[in-house]
């Protein structure tokens, strides 16, 4: 059998085993605890048909994307500003470390107080998490700039702007992407947590409402949908990275590994 087909078959076998275990669990301990593969599939198509799923998905994805942009863009740009200000950078360093160390999910209730219960507190929560992840990884890239490249460019007549644009920026992109790669699934996760805490819409709300109603089928549908979203997002980020970093050898140090990509 050819290796590709073999791989697909092996993967399907694992899937069948998982579904079988799930079925056994739901038969042994009751459908109200574990739902069942068939019930979940039925419910999944039901909420797809009646539009409920997209109604909730739309909300969660919007919170994640807005938060990702609001947090990620400043997080990726700030290191370039700080590069030119070593004193400011040194002064602020412990505050960045503190901000990074603070468990951001614990801020969710505060954001609800400040921004209400609509999309804003979720965006704020996602942004708070994403900004630090992207900032620290980009900062590492900016600091790891090869001094020899900088000297080469200076001798060739480059000014500070040229160096930022042609040496520091392209050198830092792999590091920024390491941050994006971690931040992308976190942004979905943070949006869901925000919805768990207070919301009347979103996949997080679906989970919360389902669990409150003892409706485990709805919970499983939401979890399944979230998993699919995150997998697709990961593959998208990896594709984007591969295109932007096509100058790098595919394997070797620094090559990124993304599950599923």
């Amino acid at each position: 059998m050819n290796p590709r087909l073999q791989l697909t078959v092996d993967r399907l076998v694992i899937l069948v085993i998982c579904i079988a275990v799930w079925q056994v669990c739901s038969m042994e301990w009751g459908v109200h605890w574990f739902s069942s593969p068939l019930k979940m599939t039925n419910r999944f198509f039901e909420v797809v048909w009646n539009g409920d799923l997209f109604y909730h998905m739309d909300y969660t994805i919007r919170a994640a994307i807005y938060g990702f942009l609001v947090g990620g863009i400043p997080g990726a740009l700030l290191p370039f500003v700080l590069r030119r200000m070593p004193v400011v950078s040194a002064v602020l360093d412990p505050y960045f470390a503190g901000g990074y160390g603070m468990p951001k999910l614990a801020l969710a209730p505060l954001f609800v107080l400040w921004f209400g219960i609509d999309l804003e507190p979720k965006v704020a929560l996602v942004a708070a998490i994403v900004s630090f992840l992207v900032f620290f990884s980009t900062m590492a890239g900016v600091q790891a700039v090869n001094a020899q490249y900088v000297n080469m460019a200076r001798v060739a007549g480059a000014n500070e702007k040229d160096i930022a644009r042609h040496i520091v920026w392209p050198g830092a992109i792999p590091y920024s992407f390491a941050g994006f790669r971690i931040a992308a699934p976190y942004s979905i996760g943070a949006a869901v947590v925000g919805e768990l805490i207070s919301s009347n819409r979103g996949l997080g709300y679906m989970i919360q409402a389902g669990a409150t109603d003892f409706d485990t089928t709805t919970v499983f549908v939401s979890l399944f949908t979230l998993t699919m979203i995150v997998v697709i997002v990961n593959v998208g980020v990896a594709r984007c990275e591969r295109w932007l970093l096509r100058w790098r050898p595919r394997t070797g140090a620094g090559a990124s590994w993304v599950p599923g990509a």
Binding site: N151, V155, A156, G157, A158, L245, W247
Partner: protein, 285 residues
């Protein structure tokens, strides 16, 4: 200050005295000294360079040979203003760089001095052609005429056809040649070379040396070439300076009269090569 300048010039003449070329020096190094800031617990850092004097004539191929760790790279870094001198000065085309703290350095003297470093320093995210044209692009001088020149240089060093390759897809020798023509492409009057062929095998090295001499013949320019390889120093040069161990000083000067063009694959058989090799070897001990 004027007195110091005059003294520096005087020293330069003394060293230059007796040379057959009458051309005025293009670049002059006077009383150059360098030491780095002391390490913690160290009262005073040792001098890497101390009272170094020499000059280079227009279109001269000068090589400097010295043991590893003699401060050769430090010297070149100072000459092209990547690093500041602790004492002394460098004069070049009527301009002077004095010892200082580095705040006023102008790396490359406004693109007048090119520098081919030990590592090729090709930017990994730029294709070969984009690397070679990088200085031209930065200087805003990339036009049909300079592009023509780049194409010509690519052809001379056998890189035609690899324009769109990224550095990691090229061999070490190809990368060396690319870094060489990257500097030649914008045509600075002086080029400094820091053991540019240090990291390649012997055959590739000979090829690269011949490429270099061919390029130098195409458009003569002033070259200061630093190496620890005695054979390389003699076979390429118009004049060889022998440097001592750190702190580096010029301990001897030899004019190489082997006629050009030189066949570098057989340089060991050329007249006078063996004797000079032996003399330099002893001076380096």
């Amino acid at each position: 200050m004027a007195a110091a300048l005059a003294a520096a010039h005087g020293r330069g003449r003394k060293l230059g005295a007796g040379r057959m070329s009458a051309a005025s020096p293009t670049l002059q190094v006077s009383g150059l000294g360098k030491r780095f800031p002391p390490r913690p617990g160290q009262a005073e850092a040792p001098w890497i360079l101390a009272d170094l004097n020499f000059s280079v004539a227009h279109n001269e191929f000068l090589t400097m040979v010295g043991p590893s760790g003699a401060g050769k790279t430090t010297l070149l870094n100072i000459i092209c203003q990547v690093d500041a001198a602790t004492s002394g000065e460098v004069n070049f085309l009527g301009k002077t760089m004095k010892a200082g703290n580095g705040a006023t350095l102008k790396p490359g003297w406004d693109c007048q001095i090119g520098y081919v470093t030990q590592d090729d320093n090709l930017l990994p995210w730029r294709s070969l052609i984009d690397n070679v044209t990088f200085p031209l692009r930065i200087q805003g001088k990339l036009n049909d005429q300079t592009m023509e020149r780049v194409t010509q240089l690519m052809k001379v060093v056998n890189l035609t056809g690899f324009e769109r390759y990224y550095p990691h897809e090229l061999s070490g020798g190809m990368r060396k040649r690319a870094s060489l023509i990257r500097t030649l492409a914008y045509d600075p009057p002086i080029i400094l070379m820091d053991e540019p062929f240090g990291a390649v095998d012997a055959q590739t090295r000979t090829t690269l040396q011949m490429d270099l001499l061919r390029l130098w013949n195409l458009g003569k320019k002033t070259i200061i070439f630093v190496t620890h390889d005695i054979g390389e120093a003699i076979s390429l040069a118009d004049r060889v300076l022998v440097l001592s161990r750190s702190p580096a000083k010029v301990v001897a000067e030899h004019r190489v009269n082997i006629p050009r063009p030189r066949d570098l694959s057989n340089v060991y058989k050329l007249d006078g090569f063996g004797d000079m090799f032996e003399t330099v070897r002893k001076e380096l001990l």
